[in-house]
């Protein structure tokens, strides 16, 4: 449905715009504590109210969007940067040792529950945004490797690959020139999905205190800090919760919409 694509693009675009804007400007300074103004309800001065330290929740949420997006984006980049070449390699050497090596390595990573290992990594190397990125990124690698290999295998059976071989091109060059462009749309869809999963994972790690550290704002930690006051001042918890839900929903709608929009062309390719 087109409406899903548009709604998804709007929601994801809003989160992205907030994240980018917060790098230059937020309505209030988030470093300034004002205990006297703590836990204010929404008002014209503070649209989303203030938290237990008197910080403006709107500003915090905008900065939180930035944290989430940077973590998820870099994690997707790690996953694509390593996973896609590995998948292309595996497909180019189907059923030979490079393929076996990549796919069994994949199985190994898949065998561990991702969030538990991410907690382990951050627990061992210390909680920080960088370690959260690495932990989430590692689990993106096999996802992209498998999707890439699966999409590339049918391409390798086509005659234009044969023609490229007759033109003397090697596997690496063919993978780069013919295979990758023809599976790009699939990878873009997968990237949106992994991006939204990355935002969820970052929120989860921050919630248990293993993500970005104070004073860097993060949706997950905003939730964690607000949970003791949720009966008293619900908006303090509801706002970051909504941020997570709407961003992830938007990205999922965007991913589904893109898949539908790109699918007819994929069918023609086959």
């Amino acid at each position: 449905m087109r409406t899903g694509l548009i709604l998804g693009a709007l929601l994801a675009g809003l989160a992205l715009a907030a994240a980018v804007l917060s790098a230059f400007w937020t309505p209030h300074d988030i470093a300034r504590l004002a205990i006297a103004e703590k836990l204010l309800p929404p008002s014209p001065a503070h649209w989303f109210g203030t938290d237990h330290l008197g910080r403006d929740i709107l500003s915090m949420a905008m900065r939180g969007a930035q944290t989430s997006m940077v973590v998820a984006l870099v994690a997707v980049a790690i996953g694509m940067g390593l996973g896609v070449p590995l998948g292309l390699l595996a497909a180019a050497h189907r059923d030979r040792w490079p393929d076996d090596l990549v796919m069994r390595g994949n199985d190994l990573v898949f065998a561990f529950p991702s969030l538990v290992i991410a907690i382990l990594i951050t627990a061992v190397f210390g909680p920080s945004a960088v370690n959260a990125i690495i932990a989430i990124g590692i689990f993106n690698i096999p996802v992209f490797a498998r999707v890439t290999r699966g999409a590339a295998l049918p391409i390798w059976t086509l005659d234009y690959i044969r023609a490229a071989q007759v033109a003397g091109k090697g596997r690496a060059l063919i993978s780069l020139q013919h295979v990758l462009p023809n599976i790009a749309s699939l990878l873009i869809v997968q990237a949106t999905i992994q991006f939204s999963l990355g935002i969820l994972a970052e929120a989860g790690l921050s919630y248990v205190g293993l993500g970005a550290q104070p004073p860097t704002p993060s949706w997950g930690r905003m939730l964690a800090e607000a949970q003791t006051m949720v009966t008293l001042t619900p908006h303090v918890a509801v706002i970051p919760g909504l941020c997570i839900v709407l961003t992830v929903l938007g990205l999922n709608l965007l991913g589904d919409g893109l898949r539908d929009a790109l699918d007819p062309r994929l069918r023609v390719l086959r």
Partner: protein
């Protein structure tokens, strides 16, 4: 029985069928025409399987009942029961996860409400009937354990399980070898005779229709231009389009045999084995062949005989395990990769006009790809323009994408790509098999002209003798990894010596000689 009355249909505003009237009587009716003429749409209209956004007018009458007006639920009860259908592609027509017994039984369970045991017993009878008898072909086989022809037999068993009055066969043998085709056509003919069925046989092959059909309808651009008893229609050829089809299907490009010249390619004792759990397969078992400069050689055999493996070895895509390939004096031994300068002497044209080009590249980049072997010359754009002109396409096509071209044009582009680095040998792997007869005739003419202009040698690979007879000087017949017969084209076809060659010649569908 079934009658189409002024059936017109359009899809999204595009007219597809124009007042098609057709009376199907028990026996075999052939429907011939080129691709895109509306043959398959006619079949889908009868089955009630038209795509969305289709607007129809006219009637499809089954015993006086208009099928176009029936709701989907009623149509579903008719499909399979009164009207059965088999498709072109036996590889995708069966569910790979279901045994062949269950697939045939499923039809019976849905329509006749049989329990599994009774349905399987009937499925057994059905498979026996289509030539898949009990001990060799148990019900528990899966589709991947069968060959293409055997799968098509399963598809036929499914289509006739309920003894439908009408069976529609849409290019049922186009994807099969000629020998398999002959056996499947025999089976269909017997089934029609035994059951008193009506068979609508859709094909682009006039010879198939000539050998099978009692009546024929010729279709062009969504209209039936001529119909009647097959022999009368094919003898009189009163409509110009029918005449065109006949001229094209018997077309042999005018070409001179090349003057004898030294050998260009010599293959000796080629061996290629594939290891497998059950002992492996010797795809090439000591193959030897020679192609002279400027000579055109046909390599004919059934699928799985090793001809594609041989082509891959000659093109340097797979090294041999034993034997030698000698090209212009330079020789490549077993296990060795082919050097680039040698590989640049050869190019290839493949079967599938739709899969032969990267859909994301423009024509100029596609055609320039073989320059990878030789380095891209400074005047490469001019060379591409010249190559396009040479295959009969305007040079301003260079910036187009491949989906803007028809199947025949794509095959011309494939030939242009093969020509661009001026090879001495072009390997044509089923290069015209997927084309309509008229387009095929044009492409064969083009190949003959290019050969005369550039002194090219061709290795023409096909499963069908009739495809290669017009364009080759010599034919090699291959069976089970060996070359079993070799000789001048006319001698091979007129007086085949080896059993296998004789079988291939017998299987060629022919239009009776006295009909012209």
């Amino acid at each position: 029985m079934i009658r189409l009355e002024d059936l017109s249909l359009s899809i999204g505003g595009w007219p597809v069928l124009d007042r098609v009237s057709l009376d199907l009587q028990p026996g075999i009716t052939g429907l011939v025409g080129e691709s895109g003429s509306g043959k398959s749409m006619t079949a889908l209209a009868i089955m009630g399987l038209l795509p969305e956004r289709t607007v129809t007018s006219g009637k499809v009458l089954l015993d006086g009942m208009d099928l176009l007006a029936l709701p989907e639920r009623a149509m579903r009860a008719l499909r399979g029961k009164r009207i059965g259908m088999i498709f072109q592609e036996p590889m995708t027509a069966l569910n790979p996860l279901m045994t062949i017994g269950d697939q045939v039984a499923e039809v019976l369970r849905i329509h006749e409400g049989l329990d599994r045991r009774a349905a399987l017993a009937r499925a057994r009878e059905g498979l026996d009937r289509v030539g898949l008898p009990a001990p060799r072909f148990p019900l528990t086989l899966y589709p991947h354990e069968l060959s293409g022809g055997q799968r098509q037999r399963v598809a036929i068993a499914m289509a006739i399980a309920l003894r439908p009055d009408l069976l529609i066969a849409d290019e049922p043998t186009t994807a099969l070898d000629v020998t398999t085709q002959a056996r499947i056509l025999d089976l269909l003919r017997d089934l029609v005779r035994q059951d008193g069925m009506t068979l609508l046989l859709i094909t682009h092959d006039l010879a198939v229709v000539a050998g099978m059909a009692d009546r024929v309808a010729v279709m062009q651009a969504g209209r039936i231009v001529e119909s009647g008893p097959t022999e009368a229609v094919f003898r009189s050829r009163s409509h110009p389009y029918t005449r065109q089809l006949f001229t094209a299907s018997g077309h042999r490009p005018g070409r001179q045999p090349p003057p004898p010249a030294g050998p260009l390619l010599q293959v000796t004792g080629a061996v290629r084995e594939y290891r497998a759990a059950d002992g492996g397969l010797r795809a090439l078992d000591g193959v030897g062949l020679t192609i002279g400069r400027g000579e055109s050689v046909g390599l004919v055999g059934e699928s799985g005989c090793g001809k594609s493996t041989l082509a891959r070895a000659i093109l340097g895509l797979d090294p041999l395990q034993a034997g030698q390939i000698r090209l212009e004096g330079q020789s490549i031994g077993p296990g060795h990769r082919m050097p680039r300068d040698l590989r640049a002497r050869m190019q290839a044209v493949f079967q599938d006009p739709f899969g032969s080009f990267d859909p994301r590249w423009r024509v100029d980049r596609l055609l320039a790809e073989p320059f990878h072997l030789t380095g891209r010359p400074a005047d490469w754009r001019d060379r591409i323009g010249a190559a396009l002109a040479e295959v009969g396409l305007h040079p301003n096509n260079a910036r187009k994408f491949i989906h803007e071209f028809s199947g025949g044009q794509r095959q011309r582009l494939a030939i242009a790509r093969a020509l661009i680095i001026r090879p001495s040998l072009i390997v044509l792997d089923e290069a015209v098999s997927a084309l309509d007869v008229q387009v095929r005739a044009q492409v064969l003419d083009l190949l003959a002209r290019l050969q005369a202009d550039h002194g090219l040698a061709y290795l023409f690979i096909s499963h069908d003798l009739s495809v290669v007879r017009g364009i080759t000087d010599r034919i090699l017949v291959m069976q089970a990894g060996r070359i079993v017969e070799e000789g001048p084209t006319d001698r091979i076809i007129d007086a085949p010596r080896h059993d296998h060659t004789q079988a291939l010649v017998r299987a060629m569908p022919k239009i009776p000689a006295d009909w012209s």
